[in-house]
Structures are given as C-alpha cells and as structure tokens.
C-alpha cells in the first residue's frame, strides 16, 4: 500500500472511531451526510495537479502526511497569551477553539444582544437541531471538492453564528482557532456556519493562529447564508505556523439584495489554499471578494475564487493583491460563472502582484464562463516588481532604500485595507501586514 492510500485509510479509521463516539448525540440527517461525504472522499482521494482546479498547487505534502486526529490540548493558552495572539478588542463576542476543541474559558459570549447567537457547533446540534438541519452542510459541495468532503465527514468543532431578522450587530464577532504546537502532526476540520437573516447586519472574523511552530493541517469549511437585504462581512485572517497547511473553503449563499464582503488575509502557513465561492442567488445581490496575500520563504498560497451569478442584476467584485518575496509561490484562479438567467450581471475581477525577487512566482488565471448575453465582465491581472524609478525618486528625497521600498509596498496594499469597513480590524490587519514588511528592505537589486 502506498503512502497516499495508507493516509486515506487512516482517515477512514478516524471516521469510524468518531462515528462510534458520536452515535448517541448526533442526529440521523447529519450521520447520513457524513457517511456519504466519507464515501466520496474515499472514492476520489486528494486532488492531483492533473485536476484543472489544482493545476498549480500540489497537495502531495498533505496527502502523504499521516495526520492524527487532533487531541484535546493538555494545556490551553492563558487569556493573556490568547490576547497577544489575536486582537479581539472591540468585539461583540469571541468564540475560541484550541486544537479543534471549544474553549469556554477563552471565549466571551456574554455581551451579545437579543437576536444574536454564537455557539459551538457541537452544542448547537443539541440545542438547535432543526435550525442546523436546515443549513449545516447544505451549501459547500462535497462532490466537487475532496477537502470539503473530508471536512463534512470529520468535523468536530466550529462556530455557529445566527443573527435574527432585522438585527444590526455593529461590532465584529470573532471566531479564533489556536493551534498549540503538538509533537505529532495533527489535522483539524473546523466547520463554521453563519446565518444572517433578512435585513440583519453582521461582521464575522475567522482567525487562524499558532502558539508555536509545528506541522498541522487545518481543513476548514465555512458556510455563510446572507438573507434577503442582509449585510454580511467575513474576514479570514490566516496566520498559521510556518510548517502548517491550511485548506479553507468559504461558501456563501446570497439571497435577494444581500450585500456580502469577504476579506481574506493570508500571511502564514507553508501551503495554503483559500477557496471562496459565493453564489449570488437572489436578484440585486452584491458580493465583494477582497484579498491580500503576503508571502516569503518557500510559502505557497493558492487563492481560488469561484463566483457564481445565478440571478439577474447582481454585482460581484474581486480584488486580490499579493506580495511575493524569496521563493514564494502564489496562485490566483478567478472564475466567474454567469448562468443563463443572470442578465445584467456586472462582474469585475482584478489580481495584482508584486514580485520582490526573480525567484518568486505567480500563476494567475482568470476565467469567464458566460451563458447570459447581457452582462458586463471585466478582468485584469498585473505582475510587476517595485518600480526602480519610484525607489530612486524617494531616495533622492532622503528616504532610505528600505523605507522607500516599504512605502511603495504599503501603498500597494493600502487599497486592499481601505475596503475593510470595520475600522478596528483594518488597523490590526494593517499592523500585521506592516510587521511582514521589513524583509522587503533588505532586498538586493534584483533587476537586470
């Protein structure tokens, strides 16, 4: 048996163990979904670069590592440690998971107003079964994506956020996943569900951080339902440990006149895949996909957008920007699908990249699939280096080369930051990005 098959059968074993453990608590509808998903995963296994959707991202490192199911941590970080890892000031609520286990000690769910519920998915299954049955695992497609299937089969933690009709939650809700450096390679499959009912407004921040470096694999799926005329902002702030792997899927179901924004900030991890898949499934829906990836060393980050316009008069905007240092490799695949009935679609996509060295690499692939005839779709991609003339100009005004470069890089990312509506978050993301920059200053003149 080769490693790949061995690893796959170990997931099967994990699935069976979990099954017997959960038997008492879990409703039948979910068990059915899990079994089907496990079968699906066993059938297809991990994708290869032969798959068009994975052409530039080789996941062998994930597929060939025998990850164990994550164990309940012996020692959880202190609240101070947690606060140092993630800034959750000015939050409406904060739900924290450590190595895939809900931590009541670190979470703060007291301040929530009526009409907003934030719960661990395991608890929600007990307390709110009917609601979960309506939404959980109903959107992200287990057939198309093996990672989503694996998640559906194995997930054990995650946040459920439910905002009732007409309720405005002005401050963001934080969902934090902390990894403590365990000695063995472990995998965790969080599953989040965010449902914003009609006319409500909410911002949810998903953060991935680690106490120290270790090899771990996070395979997260988040399903978002933006009800009619609801306003939803989702932030994904990925700051995983250098040796870790993260595959995340954000699937958004948008109803009529809903207004959704996704902000993906990818900073950490060794191999990261960020799938964002909104379906604009109601007339007048708007979707903004804003992304920023800052990579160095031999990091690999793959942003995979799939924007589906299913109904007329919807607008989507994709703005992804990346900065690649050293030998890092980024991928951007942006696919816009306009269904036959989605007339008057207005879809825009832009992917801009800054390569700081000759060895950094970007593969950018826009794709338009249009079945309606009255639509407006634009796409643009740029790949460039820091403008040597601009650096020279700034130096001639007295800036050091490092400052000049940082200033230009900062100007490049500024646009992405300005799209974030939550000011407290914008400032903390800005600080995180700035912290990544000084390396840029040491760069030698690599043009020739």
């Amino acid at each position: 048996m080769d490693t790949l098959t061995q690893v796959q059968s170990s997931y099967q074993a994990q699935f069976e163990q979990a099954l017997s453990r959960r038997k008492r608590n879990e409703p039948g509808w979910l068990s059915n979904i899990r079994s089907r998903a496990m079968d699906r995963f066993s059938d297809v296994g991990f994708p290869t670069t032969e798959d068009e959707d994975w052409r530039f991202t080789n996941v062998d490192r994930i597929g060939q590592t025998p990850f164990l199911a994550s164990q309940k941590p012996l020692r959880i970080p202190s609240p101070q440690q947690c606060a140092e890892l993630v800034c959750t000031e000015n939050a409406a609520a904060c739900i924290v998971f450590v190595d895939g286990y809900f931590s009541a000690e670190l979470s703060d769910l007291k301040g929530l107003s009526d009409g907003v519920r934030v719960t661990d998915v395991a608890q929600a299954l007990v307390k709110d079964g009917a609601f979960l049955q309506e939404h959980l695992c109903r959107y992200a497609d287990t057939d198309r994506d093996a990672f989503v299937a694996l998640n559906a089969a194995l997930f054990g933690c995650g946040a459920v956020v439910h905002v009732s009709p007409g309720v405005i939650v002005e401050k963001p809700i934080h969902v934090v996943f902390i990894s403590t450096a365990s000695a063995e390679a472990t995998a965790c499959h969080p599953r989040n569900l965010i449902v914003a009912e009609a006319n409500s407004q909410v911002a949810v921040v998903e953060s991935y951080v680690a106490v120290a470096d270790s090899v771990y694999f996070t395979n997260a799926v988040t399903e978002v339902v933006a009800g009619e005329n609801a306003v939803v902002e989702h932030y994904m702030i990925e700051r995983d440990a250098p040796s870790s792997y993260n595959v995340s899927t954000l699937r958004v179901e948008q109803h009529r006149n809903s207004n959704f924004a996704s902000h993906s900030i990818l900073l950490g991890g060794s191999l990261v895949r960020n799938n964002v898949h909104p379906v604009l499934n109601g007339e007048g829906a708007q979707s903004l996909l804003n992304g920023l990836y800052v990579l160095g060393g031999d990091q690999h980050a793959d942003n995979h957008m799939r924007v589906e316009h299913a109904k007329p008069h919807c607008d989507s905007r994709q703005y992804y920007k990346g900065i690649m240092d050293d030998e890092s490799h980024a991928v951007f695949a942006g696919r816009i699908i306009v269904h036959k009935d989605a007339q008057k679609t207005d879809a825009k996509q832009s992917n801009m990249n800054l390569l700081l060295t000759d060895r950094a690499q970007i593969d950018t692939k826009p794709q338009l699939e249009i079945y309606a005839d009255d639509v407006k779709c634009t796409h643009g991609a740029t790949i460039g280096q820091i403008d040597a003339n601009a650096v020279f100009y700034l130096r001639s005004r007295g800036l050091s080369e490092q400052d000049a470069r940082n200033l230009l890089i900062y100007a490049f990312v500024g646009e992405s930051l300005s799209r974030m509506k939550q000011e407290s978050l914008r400032l903390s993301v800005e600080a995180l990005v700035l912290a990544r920059l000084p390396r840029a200053g040491e760069l030698r003149e690599s043009r020739g």
């Binding site: 009732s164 005329n229 009529r256 708007q286 207005d346």
Partner: protein
Amino acid sequence: MLEIRDLHAEIEGHEILKGVNLTVRAGEVHSIMGPNGSGKSTLAQVLAGHSAFTVTKGEVLYEGEDLLALPPEERAQKGVFLAFQYPVELPGVGTNYFLRTALNSIRKARGLEDIDAVDFLKLVREKAKFVDLDERLLNRAVNEGFSGGEKKRNEIFQMAVLEPKLAILDETDSGLDIDALRIVSDGVNKLRSPERAVVVVTHYQRLLNYIVPDFVHVLVDGRIVKSGGKELALELESKGYGWIAPANARTNNRPAVASAH
C-alpha cells in the same frame, strides 16, 4: 400633483398592474410597499416612461397634464425624477458632464439659459457633500465601477442637483448597510418641502424609520389593497404581507424576531 386612475400595464403580454389608483399631493411622502413581484418597480418605471411596459388602461395626470402622453425626457424636464433600482452604468461618460447635459436639457425645456460652468461646479460640490459622495466619483464615468452603495447615493445626489418636483425612489434602500441607509435617508429628508412630493417604493420597513411617510400603500398583485398612515408599515413588518394579501399572493417576509430600532 399626481393622480393615478385605474392604471393597467403589461410587459410582453403579462399584466403586472391591474388597476392602480393613487393621489399624491405636493408636500406629501407616500410609501409603496409590497412583496417581490407585486408590481412596485413596474409602477415606478411606468411613471417614468419605460418603453418595455405598455399601459393598457387608465390614466395618469401630473399637474393636470396627461403624463403617459409624454416621452421620458419630457417627463424628466417637467420635474419627474426616478431613482433607479438598478442604476445604469455609462462607460466613458463623465458624471459631471452627464449631469450638466441633464441639467441644461431641463433648463432649456423651461426656457432658462445653460448654467454657467463655474456655478455648476459649485452646485455639484455642495450637493455631493449633501450625500457624502466622494467628489472624485464625479470625474469618473456614470456609475462605472461604483459600489452598490455609491450607485444608490449617486441617484440621490443627481436628485439633489436636478431638484425635481416629484421624486420616485425605487428600492433605493436595498443592499445598503446601516450607515449608507442613514446617509441616503438624510439626503432625501433634506429635499422634503411643501412644493415637492416623494414616492418611496420599498420592500423593507426599515427605510421608513428614517424617511417617515405620510401615507403607506400596500401593493399586492398589481393593486393597492390597503392604505394607511406610517403605522401600517410597522404592522406589515410584524405580521408580514400574508395577513393582507389575497390567498394566492406570494409572501416572502418572515416575521422579525427582533429589531434594533
């Protein structure tokens, strides 16, 4: 100011409006509510003169004149303004240039001289502040690359510049977050005056917390089935359209569990 009598209209053979009656006097704010597909937007488009709809019966008098006999630009020149549900992009056509052409067309129809370029600039700057619209947007093409919220604000901005007598807002609140909703409502409220009438077409009661109407009408299946004061909107919000609508009409609004305001 506006007198709609037994208005019937259809598109591609489907009857959408099935006998609408409505009287709007100067200084009044009317809200037209109703479930999706009830004909609210159709009514707004028919009043503005969209050619896709055919009026099969009834009449509309605007300041005593047969409104339906006029082409859309003449309606605009006489002071009818529609804030579009889906504002249209005009690539390459600068917002300032577009608005000046519009303003001058309207002035010309009223026998006035073209507005002086400097005065125009002063006017648009002042009105842009009014709706918190980034002035830089004025140099860009009309609605091109604007966000959903910017497009809606641009409609209110244009309304502020053109100063219509009868303003019809077609779902101007859809998809707006709470801050943008406040800005748009403020813009509309500043325009309220005894000489002006506003018809607010909306699906959501929320807007009416900010633009308080004198009258609320419920449009279901092409007819106004109930009219009342602003309290009718609140009643709709809590009970949905179901209690009012005929049995066959679609009801999409679930009752709210809680409301922030």
